[in-house]
Structures are given as structure tokens and as C-alpha cells.
């Protein structure tokens, strides 16, 4: 019983990490049709930003710093590299893949290629007793953060003007412009939100994994893409549901038969694509 609880909570922690990366990816794809292969870079920037700031300002402020830097990086990427290439999918893929490779190289040159131990404040290393299992607080922290981001995103989509523009734009972007709305401003905003969420994943994921390396972002991005496709492009709720499915599946299968978890995730992806090619859901909010 206690093993199952621990596996479930660890799986949910992983799911939280996937969701934080996938939600922004999904919104950006749904709204702007951009497959952003550089999205993992925002995670790495958030992680290294937090890692760099931590000795100077303490944990919470360091995470905030990482998140802000991640969001700014995302805005910069959107304005400089993506905006000139809207509607040119192949070029966008080339540019974002190139950027993600260049970003990894830059991080390696700056911080070294090896994994660095990530700062872990004392309190994140406490364990809680839940259902007989001893659960490290870092997982709970990830889950709570992901739930907070989920709530904030849904609130943004449902109750703000820009959220309305995003939901409409995911359905029919051209029609939004034909109503006199500059949909590109919404693109930039969605990039910023996605960058911030990914950077948060980088910061809290660093605590959870205990170390960061320049390639962490890129490897997590693969699972985030799977989550986006399973959940349905452009759907925040879909991403959340798919992240939970992928995280739990991976954790449980890996526990009972090591190494099979990733294969099962790919199998799940194949099944969903066969049964529901559009993903689990097509609604934005």
C-alpha cells in the first residue's frame, strides 16, 4: 500500500513537471501553429537562472528570478525568431531546433557540460507521512505548483479579454483578426506565459531531480510533446489529464519492470492517435 502511494505521488510529481512544460507548448501550438522545439530551453534557462540567483537571494526569490528570465527569453525568441516566420512551418521548425541546439551549447560553454548539484533548501527535503508512505516534500511542491498554474491558466482563459482572444484564436485565428484584433499580441503573451511555466518547471524540477545539466530541458521536452499530442493541441485541460496519465504510467511501469515505462508511454500515444486522432480534447479551457 505505502509503495503504491509513494509511486502515485512520485508519478504525479513527474506529471506536474510534464504539465508545466506541456501547457505552454500546447497553447503556443494551438494559437500560433508553432511547434516550438526551443521550449525546453526556457526550462533550462529557468533552472540555471534559479541556480545562479540562489546563493544571492534565497530560494523563493531565486525561483521568481528564474521564472522572469524564462518568460523574457520566450518573449525575445517570439519577437526575433518566430514572428518573421509565421505561417512558414518548416523554417520555424529549423529555427527552433537550431536554437535549442545552440542553447544547449551555450549553456555548456557557460556552466560546463556536467550536471550541477541543484540547491535544495532544507524544507524541501523533509518527508511527510501520507497513507503510510514517506513522501519527500519536493514532489508535493511540484504538484501544488502545477495545480496553481493550472488554476491560473484556466482563470486567465475564462475571465480575461486576452484569454478570450486566445480561446477564439485557437479555433480560428484568421477570424479573430477579421474582428479587428491584433492576434500577434496574444501570441507574444502566450509565449511569455509558456516560457514562465517552463522556467518554473526548470526551477522546481531541479529541486526534484537534485541536479541540472544543459540537456535536461531537451529530454523533458520529448515527453512534453507526447503529453501535448495525447491531450489535444491547444487544450490546457487536455494537457493536464494527459500529463497525469503519462506520469503515472511511466512511474508504475518502471517500478515493476525497469525501462519499460517509456515504451508504454509511446504505446499510449499510438493508441490515443489511433482512437482519437485529435487528442483527448479539443477545447482550450
Amino acid at each position: 500500500m505505502s509503495t503504491i502511494v509513494l509511486l502515485a505521488i512520485t508519478g504525479l510529481g513527474l506529471a506536474a513537471l510534464y504539465f508545466l512544460v506541456a501547457s505552454g507548448l500546447s497553447l503556443v501550438f494551438g494559437l500560433a501553429d508553432v511547434l516550438n522545439f526551443a521550449h525546453g530551453l526556457f526550462l533550462s534557462i529557468g533552472a540555471y537562472g534559479t541556480w545562479w540567483a540562489y546563493p544571492h537571494v534565497g530560494f523563493v526569490a531565486a525561483v521568481a528570478f528564474g521564472v522572469v528570465v524564462g518568460a523574457l527569453a520566450a518573449v525575445l525568441v517570439e519577437l526575433v525568431l518566430i514572428r518573421p516566420l509565421y505561417k512558414r512551418t518548416i523554417e520555424q521548425v529549423l529555427v527552433t531546433v537550431g536554437l535549442s541546439l545552440a542553447g544547449v551549447a551555450l549553456l555548456q560553454a557557460t556552466f560546463g557540460a556536467d550536471a550541477r548539484p541543484f540547491p535544495r533548501p532544507q524544507w524541501t527535503q523533509h518527508v511527510l507521512s501520507i497513507g503510510g508512505a514517506l513522501v519527500p516534500v519536493d514532489r508535493i511542491l511540484l504538484i501544488v505548483a502545477a495545480l496553481g498554474v493550472l488554476g491560473a491558466l484556466l482563470g486567465f482563459l475564462r475571465w480575461t479579454r486576452y484569454g478570450l482572444i486566445v480561446r477564439a484564436g485557437v479555433e480560428n485565428r484568421e477570424m479573430v483578426t477579421a474582428l479587428g484584433i491584433d492576434v500577434r499580441k496574444a501570441f507574444t503573451l502566450v509565449f511569455a506565459i509558456g516560457g514562465a511555466a517552463a522556467a518554473l518547471a526548470g526551477a522546481l524540477g531541479g529541486v526534484y531531480l537534485g541536479s541540472i545539466s544543459p540537456t535536461t530541458g531537451a529530454s523533458l521536452l520529448i515527453f512534453a510533446f507526447i503529453v501535448v499530442v495525447i491531450g489535444g493541441m491547444g487544450s490546457v485541460i487536455g494537457s493536464a489529464v494527459a500529463a497525469v496519465a503519462v506520469g503515472l504510467l511511466q512511474q508504475f511501469v518502471n517500478y515493476y519492470s525497469t525501462g519499460m515505462g517509456d515504451i508504454c508511454v509511446v504505446a499510449l500515444l499510438a493508441v490515443v492517435l489511433l482512437v482519437r486522432p485529435g487528442g483527448l480534447t479539443r477545447r482550450t479551457a
Binding site: 478570450l164 482572444i165 484568421e174 479587428g180
Partner: protein
């Protein structure tokens, strides 16, 4: 005249869809754009709005609008009611209207013309009937005080009673703001339109009064391929 096209051409996927069309839209009343299926009526409206890549000169209120971005054109007074309505199916009626509202939206006018929208504010637009969706699509644009409306086949696929409702609404609207209307239903054209522009094979084949056109059965048949 409020809008003027001179030698406007559009190529799509290598096809020369519009081959240098020129016509004017009067500053009041309804100008109807006619032509057989696939001749390029929708493409003409899209070219005016900057949604299709066009060459040639486009003048709105005396100013060149060629190459301007769509949302700016709409903000500067061009309202667009697209073919097939294009309401946002996942959004409620209220959200569709709220999204479209620019400066000082006139909800009273919209609810007066289409009371059904007011009763269904919290319903998703995708669950409205075709006629109701058309009213929402028109209502979205009528919220704002535009200077010219581009309306693409508003009666397409509607039941006769709803066609009449939409035509009545358009007639009322056209008393406040000029309309460039694409319409295949000749009874509606006869009732509403003052001027007519007919496209054929990528060019303007005929311009003149709509009454003259529809009064001449052989002309109508040769231009539009329909008898009546």
C-alpha cells in the same frame, strides 16, 4: 463612393483567380457582387481585407489600403461577415459578442434586430441553429459603427423564413452603413441591391443597376447561368 478597386489581381497556389478587376462601391446603400460559383467573389472580399495576397490599387475613403494589416482595416471601419458564418463554436454567444466589441459597442441595436441572441447569451455558438449563427455573425459586426460592411452570402443554406429575416435586417442596416454584399439569392438581390457588379472568368463582366440586370432575363442568364 467609399471603396474603389483598380486593376486588382489575386493569385492563389499559382492560379490567377482575379485578373485585374476594377469597380467602385457606393457610399450608401447596397452594392451586390455577383457571379457563378468559384468565380472569385469571396476572394475579392478577402483581398479587400488583406486576407488574400493582392496586387493593384485599393482605396477606402480616398486612402490607399493596399498591404495594410487586416485588424487595422477592421479598426478603421471595414466590417466583415464571412461566408459560412465563422462564429467561434466553443465560445458562448455573449463571448462571441464581447470578443467582437471594439469601441462603444451598440448592444441595443443588435438585440433589437436579433432578439433571439439576447435569449441565448450563455449558449455556445456551436449549438445554435444555422440561422441563429448567421445572426450572431451579423450581430458581431453590427455592434460596432463600421463605415462599410463586407457581407458574404448571408442567406446561404437558410430556410426561406430565416432568409427573409436576414434580408430585413440587412435592409435596415444598409440605411445606416453602406454594404458590399455577395448574394446568390436573386429574390434577395432584387429586394435589396441598388448597384450590381458581375464577375466572370476572373474579370468584371458587367456593372450597372441591379434592377436593369435582373429585368433582363437573357442578360441574367448569360452572366449568372440562371433563368427565372
Amino acid at each position: 463612393m467609399i471603396l474603389s478597386l483598380k486593376d486588382v489581381s489575386v493569385r492563389l497556389s499559382g492560379l490567377h483567380i482575379l485578373q485585374g478587376i476594377s469597380f467602385d462601391v457606393a457610399a450608401s446603400g447596397i452594392t451586390v457582387l455577383l457571379g457563378r460559383n468559384g468565380v472569385g467573389k469571396t476572394t475579392t472580399l478577402r483581398a479587400i481585407l488583406g486576407l488574400a495576397p493582392a496586387t493593384g490599387s485599393l482605396t477606402f475613403e480616398g486612402q490607399s489600403i493596399a498591404g495594410q494589416r487586416t485588424h487595422r482595416l477592421v479598426q478603421s471601419g471595414l466590417g466583415y461577415v464571412p461566408e459560412d458564418r465563422c462564429v467561434f463554436a466553443g465560445l458562448t454567444v455573449a463571448e462571441n459578442l464581447r470578443l467582437a466589441a471594439l469601441r462603444e459597442p451598440n448592444y441595443d441595436l443588435v438585440f433589437e434586430l436579433f432578439p433571439v441572441l439576447k435569449q441565448r447569451l450563455s449558449q455556445t455558438a456551436g449549438s445554435l441553429s444555422g440561422g441563429q449563427q448567421q445572426m450572431l455573425s451579423l450581430g458581431r459586426v453590427l455592434l460596432n459603427s463600421h463605415k462599410l460592411l463586407l457581407v458574404d452570402e448571408p442567406t446561404k443554406g437558410l430556410a426561406p423564413k430565416v432568409v427573409t429575416e436576414v434580408a430585413v435586417a440587412l435592409e435596415l442596416v444598409s440605411q445606416r452603413v453602406p454594404v458590399l454584399l455577395v448574394e446568390q439569392n436573386l429574390a434577395v438581390v432584387r429586394r435589396l441591391a441598388a448597384d450590381a457588379v458581375v464577375l466572370a472568368s476572373g474579370r468584371v463582366a458587367w456593372t450597372g443597376s441591379a434592377t436593369t440586370l435582373l429585368g433582363d432575363a437573357s442578360l441574367t442568364k448569360s452572366l449568372l447561368g440562371v433563368g427565372h
